[in-house]
């Protein structure tokens, strides 16, 4: 989706505002939003969850703080997936107590979940990489209506494979109930001038991780 979240290369947002001795959270509700994001499992996959945030109205997206945006995304997902109704969200009162087949994550499981994480690499799917380090590639000019991790600023640009990372879950399908469909991911190097033109430094470069289906041979 060509959304407002895809902001690499925009120059309209003003200075970077920093806070000295910034606390991890600025308010109690932020803690709960972060925790709900990981523990409530409203989204089936991390990709579905990211896409829910990307789909926020761009005006809302830009005007929201990080956790405010996640709160809105969680509410939308809960409605879309039939976990909650509009009336329930408006009143805060549960009309029914049947939430579905999932069981809540017990507090004792938190440490293990944080320690093990959720690896996204796979030993299944497309295991043989089509490209190798040093290959010249072009990021394809794809403009899907759904979730993608191919930002606009690299589309159509030529780069070089820096490293083959292995086979990973494909977000473009995994965000939409289309399954993991694992495929190789590459670190791709683009010269700054290829991306931004002659005013960029000739020395500088950008490295980005791209799935195989985002790439085509440049030869």
């Amino acid at each position: 989706m060509n959304g407002i979240h895809d902001m690499g290369g925009m120059t309209c947002f003003g200075p970077i505002v920093r806070e000295e001795n910034e606390p991890v959270f600025h308010a109690h509700w932020e803690k709960r939003v972060l925790a709900l994001l990981f523990a409530a499992r409203i989204a089936d996959t991390i990709d579905e969850s990211r896409h829910a945030k990307e789909r926020l109205n761009p005006v809302v997206y830009l005007a929201s703080s990080y956790y405010e945006g996640w709160l809105a995304a969680l509410e939308n997902l809960a409605l879309e997936k039939g976990v909650l109704t509009k009336e329930e969200l408006a009143t805060g009162i549960a009309a029914s107590t049947s939430g579905g087949t999932k069981t809540p994550l017990p507090p004792e499981a938190v440490s293990a979940i944080i320690q093990h994480g959720a690896p996204a690499n796979r030993q299944t799917g497309r295991l043989t990489p089509r490209f190798k380090a040093g290959d010249r590639v072009i990021a394809r000019n794809l403009n899907p209506s759904g979730h993608t991790r191919l930002p606009r600023y690299v589309r159509g640009k030529q780069g070089v494979i820096n490293r083959v990372h292995g086979t990973f879950v494909y977000p473009d399908t995994n965000a939409h109930g289309g399954g993991e469909q694992p495929q190789p991911v590459y670190s791709v190097r683009f010269a700054a001038r290829e991306l931004w033109g002659p005013t960029a430094s000739a020395r500088d470069s950008l490295y980005i991780d791209l799935w195989e289906d985002y790439l085509e041979n440049a030869e």
Binding site: M10, F13, A27, R32, V33, L36, L89, G99, D204
Partner: protein, 217 residues
């Protein structure tokens, strides 16, 4: 590619949580409370689990973890080699890893190369070694401009790089998470690992600053 002039036109960043009014905070508290109690009522989540999760990131995980990794790499060349070739395994040697750091890559700053980490599409960040990201890392100005004007961004952080230095920007677009291994400051030859770790800041491991200079005694 400097955009300095337009910077002066922009007001304060509305994404900074601390700029919320008490009324806005109250409204958000109420919304979160409603969502949380509904999900608890439906048996989807438990309040204790939420508390435990948030506490872990508030108290136990943070840039002090990454600082230990960097200090070890500074004093142990074999460890540094392992860190640069298989970061996930090398970081696990010190007991760190897991959620949002399942697949780590460490990139090394040298006098000739400077690395900078960003996530233009959202806010991907190596949680096990750096903790949760600061607001500026997640903000539109940083996410948008780091890739097109990294030298300008670094200047905003007070880091002026010579033209001869190569800048490498790493956009964390997949599930790989990046951490910068900053240069070891000069004058630290006598220092032990524990004291070296105190010189390693979060910003140095994102790549927007250098490690701190040692306090001369």
């Amino acid at each position: 590619m400097s955009t300095e002039h337009s910077h002066h036109d922009a007001g304060p960043d509305p994404r900074l949580e601390k700029h919320l009014t008490p009324e806005q905070t109250q409204a958000l508290e109420a919304r979160v409370k409603a969502l949380e109690s509904l999900l608890i009522a439906k048996g989807l989540v438990s309040a204790d689990t939420l508390t435990k999760l948030a506490e872990t990131y508030e108290q136990d995980v943070g840039p002090m973890n990454g600082a230990k990794v960097v200090a070890r790499a500074w004093v142990d060349p074999a460890y540094k080699q392992r860190l640069l070739t298989n970061a996930t395994a090398a970081i696990a040697e010190l007991g760190f890893g897991g959620l949002q750091g399942e697949h780590m890559v460490v990139v090394e700053n040298t006098p000739k190369e400077h690395n900078l980490v960003v996530c233009t599409l959202c806010s991907c960040y190596p949680w096990p070694v750096l903790g949760l990201p600061p607001v500026w890392y997640k903000s539109a100005p940083y996410r948008s401009r780091s890739v097109i004007d990294p030298r300008g961004v670094l200047r905003e952080f007070g880091l002026e790089l010579d033209e001869s230095v190569e800048v490498r920007v790493w956009d964390s677009s997949a599930e790989l998470r990046y951490m910068v291994l900053p240069e070891r400051p000069s004058g630290t030859e006598h220092m032990n690992e524990e004291n070296l770790a105190k010189l390693v800041t979060r910003d140095a491991m994102i790549g927007v600053a250098r490690a701190k200079a040692p306090v001369s005694t």
